[in-house]
């Protein structure tokens, strides 16, 4: 039942906002809907934690501790982002970048987008998972092209084509999966239910599944933003409105990675080899290294952090690829802290760009002077994302690096170089932006920095202290997928 609420509220929100999205109270309605989703998700989480995994609607929907943790995360970040977008979008409108109708589109799509993500997470049917991912792409395409500027249109077009094609590969993978499954489970709807597949994964045909995994990896990997399939990502992040960049980086990439991991579990079961893991490790490593060097030459602040997202998704993929209890745990922890931190950073970045009226980093100066909260938010967020303790990102990177050093020493030089380069690239830029002489204008609406510090506070806590129930929760998930 809770599952239904989690899905219905954002859907209803989408329809409501499609009607009233242009009114003055729309942002509040948006936040309210997200809050509702968050509450429903919370209830669902509690039930899963206490009652264990369960399925719903003739097993079409299924929650275990793995996806419920992502559901909770998605709902939470969705809510905070809605809070952030309240003043942000008002300011954008005030600056004349948006019309009321665009705002209506924005709000409706925002809700539908969170609906698609939640659907993708909650469904038990790999086919529906695919459908939801495709739908998520479509909604975000509209969000990215919101400003209707040439750049935003170009970005949206590339995003649409690349992800569409990628997703198509994923569909082929799904078909192959079904093809392998129906031999064991017989034709019909059940053959795509993950729970059933997971039960019989040992008997699935290895050759087919390896082929299927290749297609699935390329397909969903495009949405994860793995190099060299990542090309859409920086454009989409840079040109869309900042709240969208926040949810793209913070949530959508996670969901895509979730799909990859789910299929990895099946393939590992069928092959009994480390084939899938090796592929993921390779892609992850490549992404980390390439992203690091891309970072070195950025001028646009949002592009900068988009590439850092690629880097971190690569790191997670690497971690999940390594497998094993510690690495998987680290991967999930990294998912959490990355989406929290990165969205916080985008919040700060959004206000920073509004303040100085540009996304070009040379022209952003002295944030700590002009607006200490934004300045410090950006500084701390950056330090956190760069893996500086006592923030949580460090915890996960610590686990990943040490495990890699122990299990796959040959990978660590690459990681060392990549992390060093990334640090130099990002920090040198951010330092000049926050410090030094100031430049910037007053904002018509007070910026919303509560989300920033809420996120950073959580990340800080996760760095120093992981509550036992949370860690048990993680452990259950690890047991499921590790």
């Amino acid at each position: 039942m809770e599952i239904l609420w989690v899905l219905v509220i954002p859907l209803a929100g989408g329809l409501l906002l499609a009607l009233y999205g242009h009114r003055r109270f729309a942002p509040e309605l948006n936040s309210a809907m997200s809050l509702g989703t968050l509450i429903a998700a919370g209830v669902l989480t509690v039930r899963v934690i206490t009652g264990g995994p369960f399925s719903f609607f003739e097993e079409q929907f299924f929650v275990d501790s793995f996806n419920v943790f992502l559901v909770a995360l998605t709902a939470f970040v969705g809510f905070t982002t809605a809070l952030f977008s309240r003043p942000y979008m008002r300011i954008e409108q005030h600056h004349g970048k948006l019309t009321a109708n665009m705002l209506r589109l924005y709000h409706a799509m925002y809700q539908l987008f969170s609906f698609t993500m939640l659907l993708a997470l909650l469904t038990n049917n790999l086919g529906i998972l695919w459908v939801a991912m495709e739908a998520a792409t479509l909604t975000t395409v509209l969000l990215v092209s919101l400003y209707r500027t040439p750049a935003s249109l170009e970005a949206a077009w590339k995003y649409f084509i690349l992800c569409g094609v990628g997703i198509a590969q994923a569909l082929f993978g799904t078909i192959l999966l079904y093809f392998a499954a129906e031999k064991v489970l017989g034709a019909g709807g059940n053959a795509l239910l993950w729970t059933h597949l997971n039960a019989v994964k040992m008997q699935l045909e290895p050759t087919v599944l390896s082929l299927a995994f290749v297609f699935l990896l390329v397909g969903y990997g495009t949405k994860v933003g793995l190099a060299p399939l990542h090309n859409w990502l920086p454009d989409a992040h840079a040109e869309g409105p900042t709240p969208v960049s926040a949810v793209l980086s913070g949530l959508l990439l996670n969901v895509a990675l979730y799909a990859v991991v789910r299929s990895k579990v099946l393939v590992d079961g069928a092959l009994g080899s480390h084939f899938a893991g090796n592929l993921m490790m390779g892609f992850g490593l490549l992404s980390v290294v390439m992203a690091a060097f891309f970072l070195l030459r950025q001028k646009d602040i949002k592009r900068l952090f988009a590439y850092s997202s690629i880097e971190h998704m690569g790191l997670m993929t690497f971690a999940f690829g390594m497998g094993g209890a510690v690495a998987t745990f680290a991967g999930m922890l990294h998912m959490t802290v990355h989406s929290l931190t990165k969205s916080a950073i985008f919040f700060a970045v959004g206000h920073a760009t509004q303040k100085s009226g540009t996304q070009v980093m040379e022209h952003i100066r002295g944030l700590i002077k002009t607006n200490p909260t934004i300045g410090w938010g950006l500084t701390l967020g950056t330090l956190a994302i760069l893996g500086m303790p006592p923030f949580g990102v460090f915890a996960s990177e610590f686990l990943i690096l040490t495990t890699a050093m122990h299990a796959y020493p040959w990978t660590t030089p690459f990681l060392l170089v990549a992390l060093g380069v990334a640090f130099a690239a990002i920090f040198s830029r951010v330092q000049t932006m926050v410090f030094g002489a100031s430049s910037g204008q007053r904002l018509p609406h007070p910026p919303a920095l509560l989300p920033v510090f809420a996120h950073l506070g959580l990340v800080l806590m996760l760095g120093l202290y992981i509550p036992p129930y949370l860690s048990d929760w993680y452990r259950q998930a690890v047991a499921l997928i590790g």
Partner: protein, 220 residues
């Protein structure tokens, strides 16, 4: 009709699909491209119907009908209206000249067949031989998307890829579960609409659908 004949029919249709895919690869004019796409849809739905008849899988009739409506009637008409509105009839230049593209296409086909061979062995369907063709047509439309330099043909390539996938679904297995197919169809439809709107935005911002204008976002 007896099974072997049906098998031959299906194989015939499959090879027809492949042929159409090649034709699209080599086709310059957008109009005929759209017609080819419609034809491909038709062949697809016919083959689906035949499979449905042979294997008495009734839900395949629905998907055949769905294909017929969506990919033979709706999408082509949308595309026709689009290009009339945007009056882009011609697609003179491809990024790779046709013969080379064809050559690559043939290589791809061989590759796909080799890849699909071991899998189609274990298929229980009478259509098992056609999995390789399905994969081939997917790859071919991928290649087509790469080589076309205007927006509309790229989209057509995208849809053709969708067709290939659908054919794979019918040939490898007797079609996906109905709910999934409905979802896929819905996505394709919505995607088409969004693209339709898109084209106009692109058009009024860049006053052409030539993709050369959309290469501003890059690392310099």
């Amino acid at each position: 009709m007896t099974t072997p004949i049906i098998g031959q029919v299906i194989n015939l249709l499959a090879s027809l699909l492949l042929l159409i895919a090649f034709a699209m690869l080599s086709q310059r004019r957008i109009l005929s491209l759209i017609n080819l796409f419609a034809l491909q849809g038709l062949v697809l739905s016919v083959s689906t119907a035949v499979v449905a008849y042979s294997s008495s899988q009734h839900h395949l009739y629905y998907s055949a009908a769905l294909t017929l409506i969506l990919k033979v009637l709706i999408l082509p008409s949308i595309l026709h209206r689009l290009i009339r509105k945007l009056n882009v009839k011609w697609d003179v230049e491809t990024l790779l000249n046709i013969p080379i593209t064809m050559l690559l296409g043939i290589v791809l086909v061989i590759f796909a067949f080799n890849l699909a061979a071991p899998i189609s062995q274990m298929a229980s369907t009478i259509t098992k031989g056609t999995l390789g063709i399905a994969m081939a047509s997917v790859l071919l439309s991928f290649l087509m998307m790469i080589t076309r330099s205007k927006a509309v043909p790229q989209v057509i390539g995208f849809l053709a890829m969708e067709n290939g996938l659908f054919f794979a679904a019918t040939s490898a297995t007797y079609g996906m579960p109905m709910v999934v197919e409905l979802g896929i169809a819905l996505d394709v439809l919505v995607g088409m609409f969004i693209l339709g709107i898109f084209f106009f935005h692109i058009r009024e911002t860049f006053d052409s659908l030539d993709l050369q204008h959309m290469e501003k976002l890059k690392e310099d």
